[in-house]
């Protein structure tokens, strides 16, 4: 009897221990600690890759940095970053960079929650608007001196390095962002439709020519409504309707969203939906599904951007892919040849990292490598992706697709930030809702503009 009692007590003790340990596991560091239901997060500990080529640290002082990326599958979706980190760690055996990828929809939420709980990583990708919010609260490090002293500013193509109002630098541009249509020349040839970039279509020509596809059961533009941000090309349209010219006045309250130019923009979006330019199941498909379907041969064009060149190259018709800024507008504002062409989002270094000199130096060493000649070469030649830095290699040796896309980045169209990067944090969601609402016929152009203004007023 006494033995049974003893066994019961021991059993109860171990059960209690398991409960406590499982609670401790729930609060361990990493992507799960934020408590956000991240359905697409993965942790890639690059220090465990390539064990055969790993080099033992030459000094006892090993510096570990955490880097949060805004894509779930870093190796596939941001190969340039993945390869740069891998190469950097090989060159710097005493530095370990833990990369954590989270789908873009969840990344911002994760960063926000981490800032509240003090769990921000050492380096992270950030939307420009979020960067400014974090900077205002003191969560980010001032990179100005390091950028200039190390000559990192010289690596960038002109116009992409963003300075704050006081000429400080808190965010380094992440990757080239040119929103564009990729189009399948085989489908265009099949229906005898000319190439839009060659013929420089205006809006009416765009809509009318695409009706040929509609009449033949081909979706003109693949896009995914479950990814509300999949309206990058529409943001380029808004740029052509004067957004960069007006945004300062709108942010300060001097000008309203309900103005003629923006109403014209929303009217075009209404026409976009009414003319069946999108798939019939656009509301139940996300961007990645839309892109995968287009790569599989569905649809004449896909609404995407130059960041997708590596995935687009997987298509069987990769050598028959054209790229296009989208149509020009006869009733637009200013220069017709203006578009979103900038460094999308940015890298920030947290103030927490900057408190540790060794970590901060390692982080800046990484960025010096990442944006420098070797990092740029890795992006272009191994990652098959474009950067916002100057590439000194022979571009003719790159794939034809990458050359075409690169030409889009380097052409003489005037580049601006994404419209949502110029809006206050949190407003982007309302903008996406407004544009999709008009395209899907749920809002009128007037209602969409008023919704934006109401958000600003609140």
């Amino acid at each position: 009897m006494k033995n049974i009692m003893l066994y019961k007590r021991i059993f109860a003790f171990f059960l209690a221990l398991i409960l406590v340990l499982s609670l401790a596991a729930c609060t361990s560091s990493g992507a799960s600690s934020s408590g956000i239901p991240s359905s697409e997060s993965s942790t890639t500990d690059s220090s465990e890759e390539d064990e055969e080529s790993a080099v033992e640290p030459v000094s006892d002082e090993v510096v570990t940095l955490t880097l949060w990326e805004y894509v779930a599958d870093i190796e596939r979706t941001a190969p340039g970053v993945y390869l740069c980190v891998k190469q950097f760690m090989e060159d710097h055996p005493n530095v370990i960079i833990d990369m954590v990828g989270t789908a873009s929809e969840e990344h911002n939420k994760k960063v926000l929650l981490a800032s509240q709980s003090g769990d921000l990583p050492d380096m992270t990708t950030l939307e420009w608007s979020m960067m400014r919010e974090l900077k205002a609260e003191g969560f980010l490090a001032d990179l100005t001196d390091e950028v200039y002293n190390r000559g990192i500013d010289d690596f960038f193509v002109p116009g992409v390095l963003q300075l704050e109002e006081d000429n400080t630098i808190y965010g380094l541009p992440y990757e080239a962002c040119v929103c564009c249509y990729f189009y399948n020349k085989e489908i265009f040839d099949q229906y005898n439709v000319g190439y839009p970039d060659v013929e420089e279509w205006n809006w009416d020509e765009f809509i009318n020519n695409c009706q040929v596809f509609v009449e033949n059961g081909v979706t003109p533009v693949m896009c995914g409504g479950l990814s509300p941000w999949n309206i990058g090309i529409q943001q380029s349209f808004l740029v052509r309707y004067g957004f960069p010219d007006y945004i300062e006045k709108i942010n300060s309250g001097e000008m309203s969203w309900v103005n003629d130019d923006f109403l014209h923009f929303f009217e075009k979006m209404q026409e976009y939906g009414e003319k069946n330019m999108m798939p019939s199941n656009v509301t139940t498909m996300d961007y990645f599904q839309a892109l995968d379907q287009w790569i599989g041969g569905t649809g004449a064009m896909v609404s995407s951007g130059v960041w997708a060149v590596n995935q687009v190259a997987e298509a069987e018709f990769a050598d028959q892919i054209g790229v296009w800024h989208g149509p020009v507008f006869e009733d637009g504002v200013g220069d017709k040849h203006r578009t979103v062409k900038s460094g999308t989002i940015c890298y920030g270094v947290t103030a927490k990292c900057a408190e540790d000199t060794a970590k901060f130096n390692a982080a800046m060493d990484f960025f010096e490598f990442f944006y420098g000649e070797e990092g740029t070469r890795i992006h272009y030649e191994e990652g098959n992706t474009l950067t916002v830095t100057k590439y000194s290699g022979d571009k003719s040796k790159l794939s034809p697709l990458l050359q075409n896309v690169g030409a889009l980045v380097d052409d003489d169209w005037t580049g601006y930030l994404l419209c949502t990067d110029m809006m206050p944090a949190g407003t982007a969601d309302v903008f996406y809702d407004a544009v999709w609402g008009v395209m899907l016929g749920n809002y009128t152009p007037q209602q969409a503009a008023e919704q934006m203004q109401a958000e600003y007023d609140s």
């Binding site: 239901p37 800032s115 205002a136 479950l226 509301t283 139940t284 498909m285 949190g426």
Partner: protein
């Protein structure tokens, strides 16, 4: 077992659960109530704004849409779920070969992660590429295809179907426990008196299972009010918030638009609605029982 039955030891053993509940449940609710009276945006210091968030709720058209959708799901699922789960429990109560395996297999939908459930049903209900639409095309009835999800009207009803599919087994399990608790002597006595199967169900089984039904309805109300993953995966609350439920809208406001204060006021309102519905229903039902 005397050492376990002392009050002191009982209290000590309860401490971990109590701490866990206090930290993760009670404290979270208190923090939510606090933020609901502020204009907190996720960063910086929250500023107290009184009841402004609450006064905004009832003029918010999207909230009213979300409330309407949630009500549709709740009412419909009550009408469908309770009879269905009772019927299934009744069948499972019949001894037959393989009964145990059927019980286990029927519980499968409930153990699948809700996000996976949403993804599975997305590929069934998608109006273009979904299994249902493909089936109608295959049998030559393309006219039967509707915008099951992603449209203006049918999404709450589709969500109800998915919700019932996912939770029926859970409610059946509770119903089955209720069925098992009824003594067979009563059925024997009824049978001796000449009562058939139908009369037995309506005049003996159902009355004796009233407590079980009360429990099921209360669980169904609280579960229905917090539907999130299924809606999030099927439609993301779209298009343009037309398929939002209370929780998906709260999530969107809080984490996508960074309006933590307003989002917390929505969550407090959901808490109050949930408490009023479930506690009110249980009290009322139990009072009728005792009468």
């Amino acid at each position: 077992m005397r050492w376990l039955s002392t009050i002191r030891n009982k209290l000590i053993l309860h401490i971990p659960s109590f701490l866990f509940f206090t930290f993760y449940s009670v404290l979270s609710v208190i923090m939510a109530i606090y933020y609901s009276f502020t204009d907190f945006k996720g960063l910086g210091t929250p500023e107290f704004i009184g009841f402004r968030n609450y006064s905004r709720i009832f003029s918010d058209a999207i909230f009213l849409t979300a409330f309407n959708n949630t009500l549709i799901i709740l009412v419909l699922s009550s009408v469908i779920l309770l009879p269905l789960s009772f019927a299934w429990a009744y069948i499972l109560d019949i001894p037959f070969k393989g009964n145990g395996l059927v019980k286990v297999m029927s519980f499968t939908p409930y153990v699948i992660a809700p996000i996976i459930v949403g993804t599975i049903w997305l590929f069934i209900l998608d109006p273009e590429i979904g299994l249902l639409s493909s089936f109608f095309r295959a049998i030559g009835k393309p006219g039967w295809i509707h915008q099951w999800i992603g449209g203006d009207k049918l999404t709450p009803y589709s969500v109800t179907i998915v919700w019932v599919w996912q939770t029926m087994c859970f409610h059946s399990t509770i119903m089955l426990a209720g069925l098992k608790s009824i003594s067979h002597d009563i059925y024997e006595a009824a049978s001796v008196d000449g009562a058939g199967r139908i009369k037995t169900i309506f005049f003996i089984t159902l009355p004796l299972m009233k407590e079980t039904f009360i429990t099921n309805i209360a669980l169904q109300i609280t579960g229905g009010l917090k539907i999130f993953e299924v809606v999030n995966e099927l439609t993301g609350g779209g298009p343009n918030h037309k398929s939002e439920t209370l929780i998906t809208y709260m999530y969107s406001i809080t984490f996508s638009r960074y309006k933590y204060g307003y989002g917390m006021s929505l969550s407090v309102l959901v808490l109050i609605i949930s408490a009023v519905f479930s506690i009110g229903y249980i009290k009322n039902a139990r009072q009728k029982l005792s009468d």
